[in-house]
């Protein structure tokens, strides 16, 4: 067997160990300690990571001074496989910061600026705003790379809800009214067009979507996706709440709360398995029966999965608790975390959690695309959310599992040479295999990077282990170096292993069932929160616009996320631009004044500790 020794371009992500300026040679040490000898070619050029809406930041002339020991760089070059000339010949370099300890993504407004930019793109793409009014009749699921509509007529509930989440998050961070208008109009559109209120059962479920043609619309009762065909998957119901609940945090609109309560009633009465615990992943759309033979069409009868058991927390439940402080939602969060901690670890077989189950929690390794495969992002999402719930109700079990995942995943789920995180991986490997096998490709999806960034940020912020800071920096540096679309706006769906955008098929799209302004904005919002308030020690302003008497007892809760107790205080409040003093700094609540119109509340949150 010959080795593949053709001329090959590649990427090396590593820390500069030493630099020989005279010979233009340097060595790079990767995250896992491998050293590569590199040579600067005469045509080499370099750029500093730039944010959305920033111009290209050339730093070619500074390469010599910036290749300092300890500096993380992304070196793209060519390997010729010639004996005696082993240097990796570098053609371009990305610097994530100008100095070894400075990462651009840790600048106080980095993520807020990115959030504003991404959300503004979607306003323009979906609604032609500001040239036209925001009207969700014009919303379309599929958007081309540059934001143009593709001519489809499908409006999916959970996809619109994801856009609404992005708009609400953009308002929270910027206070710019166009984002709140988009969030509220989207929430209303969902209620008017996508909601089914079952009067007999007094509960709500959400249509899969509608097909629109002019003024006509056809409602699609059950999912049209192959995985979930002719069923109501829990996944879609959960994400139907994501946008409205993030909007609820801002406005307190009681109609949103009512919809959420009645949707959760659906979960409790029809999805919950009172015998074996957890929640079923699918129910029959007519009988609401999770054990209906009709679900066999999608191999979904009596099944449970990550989405149905655990995805409640990040999608809507944490935000619902933040807005209401209700104990029943706290208990629900703890129930999801306890179920995950009890059922998902599978140390005897795999470093990855088990994500799919039969009713009795036996492992389902035969379902559809998943088989016996692990999704990197789900593992990291579990670590991230266990930490959040641990801050609410401290649990050694949650922290141990989060730390186990965080400690295990880099070796099995990340690219230790080029940086970034992979996608779907076989959960077991053969005895003669060094690596866990990548299922479809070695590309890196934007949302998998998000899970890594948020998991390691909150873990460093909470546990102060420097290893977690390192992983958060590496993940965020890779994301910001390669995922931002500086030509057309927004972020790319996938990049190749070497960081080049992959722009074919559905992965070329900006609007899609998966994308639609959700993960990219969630990443921005929570990175801004974790970095500023837990790590870099910068205050953060959040904006709210409560409707008159909307929140119970006129108490507005402004906590940005479930953070470690005592680490953040509410230090200043402005209402309609004027200083306001009736607030509780530790509880991060504002006692709103009586008003007959929506008040604009600016809350300044200040960290009590700085880690770097």
């Amino acid at each position: 067997m010959n080795n593949i020794d053709s001329i090959k371009s590649d990427l090396i992500a590593g820390y500069v160990k030493k630099f020989d300026q005279n010979n233009k040679k340097f060595s790079l040490e990767t995250s896992d300690g491998k050293t590569f000898d590199c040579a600067l070619t005469d045509s080499v050029y370099a750029r500093l990571t730039q944010n959305t809406n920033e111009n290209y930041l050339d730093c070619t002339n500074k390469i010599g001074s910036m290749l300092k020991p300890g500096q993380l760089i992304y070196a793209y070059g060519i390997d010729y496989h010639e004996k005696g000339k082993d240097d990796f010949e570098v053609k371009s370099i990305v610097f994530p910061g100008e100095q070894t300890s400075l990462y651009r993504h840790e600048e106080p407004n980095w993520w807020i600026n990115q959030l504003r930019s991404v959300a503004t793109c979607y306003l323009q793409w979906q609604f032609n705003y500001p040239n036209q009014a925001i009207d969700y009749k014009n919303y379309r699921t599929i958007l081309h790379l540059a934001g143009a509509k593709k001519g489809d007529f499908l409006q999916e509930t959970d996809t619109i809800s994801r856009l609404v989440y992005g708009m609400a998050s953009a308002y929270l961070c910027t206070g710019e009214d166009m984002f709140l208008e988009a969030a509220e109009k989207g929430t209303e559109y969902l209620r008017e067009h996508m909601r089914f209120y079952d009067t007999d059962e007094d509960l709500i479920y959400w249509y899969h979507g509608i097909k629109v043609s002019g003024d006509r619309e056809q409602k699609l009762l059950s999912s049209e996706f192959g995985d979930d065909f002719d069923s109501i998957p829990m996944y879609e119901q959960i994400y139907a709440l994501a946008g409205p609940i993030q909007t609820y945090r801002i406005t307190g609109d009681p109609l949103i709360l009512s919809d959420a309560e009645k949707t959760i009633d659906l979960f409790e009465r029809y999805y919950k398995d009172n015998e074996y615990g957890g929640y079923f992943s699918h129910i029959d759309p007519l009988t609401f029966d999770p054990l209906s033979p009709t679900l066999d069409k999608g191999n979904n009868r009596g099944k449970k999965n990550w989405n149905s058991v655990g995805d409640h927390a990040p999608a809507y439940l944490i935000n619902l608790w933040l807005a209401t402080g209700e104990k029943k939602y706290e208990d629900f969060l703890v129930y999801t975390a306890d179920t995950i901690a009890e059922r998902f670890p599978d140390d005897a077989h795999s470093p990855f959690v088990q994500e799919r189950f039969f009713r009795d929690w036996k492992h389902d390794t035969t379902w559809g695309w998943q088989q016996n495969r692990g999704v990197i992002g789900h593992n990291l999402k579990i670590a991230w959310n266990l930490m959040r719930i641990n801050h609410l109700r401290p649990s050694k079990t949650y922290v141990e599992l989060a730390e186990k995942i965080a400690g295990t995943m880099p070796a099995v789920g990340s690219d230790r040479q080029r940086g970034g995180w992979y996608d779907v991986i076989e959960r077991t490997k053969q005895a003669n295999e060094k690596f866990y096998r990548l299922v479809w490709h070695d590309r890196k999806a934007w949302w998998q990077q998000e899970q890594a960034i948020l998991a390691y940020l909150i873990m460093y912020g909470s546990l102060e282990n420097k290893e977690y800071l390192k992983h958060s920096r590496e993940a965020a540096a890779f994301y910001n170096a390669f995922f931002i679309d500086h030509d057309d706006g927004g972020v790319y769906f996938n990049v190749l292993a070497n960081g080049m955008p992959y722009l074919l098929g559905t992965e070329r799209l900006k609007g899609s069932h998966s994308m639609s302004c959700y993960h990219s904005t969630e990443l921005c919002y929570l990175s801004a929160v974790y970095l500023n308030l837990l790590i870099t020690g910068n205050p953060l302003d959040l904006y709210f616009k409560p409707k008159p008497n909307a929140f119970k007892d006129r108490i507005l809760r402004v906590a940005p996320d479930i953070l470690p107790k005592g680490r953040v205080k509410l230090t200043s409040v402005k209402i309609d631009g004027n200083e306001y003093s009736n607030f509780d700094a530790n509880a991060m609540t504002v006692k709103l004044p009586n008003a007959s119109y929506p008040l604009k509340v600016q809350a300044t949150l200040t960290p009590t500790k700085k880690l770097i």
Binding site: F196, D198, D200, E201, Q218, K219, L221, L286, T287
Partner: protein
């Protein structure tokens, strides 16, 4: 609520007399589902149904799904305006073939009406 089933010509006519709600929907399901069979034609006379709750809507959809699987033609006849409005608002209307009354529905089963002749269009 009462249900009467008679066989006329080449179709079964199911007359529902009374409201279809969470208390009566199971009975509708119990009586109609067994007669849903391959190549059969069933006309459900809804002219004496003044109210159909969401449980009723779901039951009707269940009948529709079973009939579609068995290539059995189910026609709703004499659906009152209020119920038709509810079915349209919820998106359920489009699933059914609907005629003004049983006579027209029977004519349709004889081939005298075609799909394009449906007197109530799918909105």
């Amino acid at each position: 609520m009462e249900i009467a089933i008679t066989n006329v010509e080449n179709a079964s006519i199911v007359v529902i007399d009374g409201d279809i709600d969470s208390s009566t929907a199971p009975e509708v399901q119990r009586q109609i589902l067994p007669i849903v069979a391959e190549n059969r034609k069933i006309i459900i006379d809804m002219s004496k149904v003044d109210f159909m709750s969401s449980a009723g809507l779901r039951t009707m959809l269940l009948i529709h799904r079973n009939s579609a699987a068995k290539k059995c033609l189910v026609i709703l006849a004499g659906v009152k305006a209020q119920i038709a409005g509810t079915m349209k608002a919820t998106g359920f209307y489009a699933f059914f073939t609907i005629y003004n009354n049983v006579d027209e529905a029977l004519a349709a089963t004889r081939g005298e009406y075609h799909d394009g002749d449906r007197l109530l269009s799918n909105a």
